[in-house]
């Protein structure tokens, strides 16, 4: 899943952080297709340029945000005592 795009992002991450921290970068394959203020703008550009294809839109950050969905992760959505 987006392995190529993630590897490419990692290869240019230091440079992105220096110049574009907090912005959203659009990567498809091994190509950086722009840096945007909003994720939605990056998605629109990706659709315009390449159509409905897998793409990596990533906010440029030093540290990754970890999302938490404990009920789903722990299988407790329908738990009853």
């Amino acid at each position: 899943m987006l392995e190529r795009e993630i590897a490419y992002y990692e290869s240019i991450k230091d440079d992105l952080i220096r110049h574009h921290e907090g912005k959203f970068v659009l990567i498809i394959g091994n190509e950086q297709l722009g840096v945007f203020d909003k994720s939605e703008d990056a998605y629109q550009r990706g659709i315009e340029l390449r159509g409905n294809v897998p793409m990596l839109i990533k906010q440029v950050r030093q540290h990754e945000t970890i999302e938490m969905i404990p009920a789903m992760v722990l299988g407790l959505i329908n738990a009853h005592v």
Partner: protein
Amino acid sequence: MAVTGPVLEVQIEIPSVLAQSLQAANSPIPNSVTGIALIDTGASITSIDVSIATRLGLNPNGIAMVGTAGGAQQQPTYQARLSFPGTALPGFEHPKVLGCNLTGQMVMNQQPIIALIGRDYLLHCVFVYSGGAGAWSLSF
């Protein structure tokens, strides 16, 4: 409500920018998918069942790191439009909903849960859960 939790009907559609692109190319636009959403105040991000993304023909627009007991794991994200039929709640075009496996999660006469509404949506609302009254409300 104590059994089902705060649930409501949700309609999931492809993003408008993708719909416009498909329309311009004379390609068919996938039908929206309707099901049940659970408001999950414990979730930091809104999620949809990944099979819905597949059914809508959505491709991932990124990845999110999700905390699990075994450490953080990568899961795909999608841009999607969510709305709530029969309510006054505004629909929203979400730039990043998480694709997750909600298979087997059922409520209310065995209707499947297809989405979890997380705090990224709730941060725009006032959510009141009145357990004693058996009622909840969401307003903007």
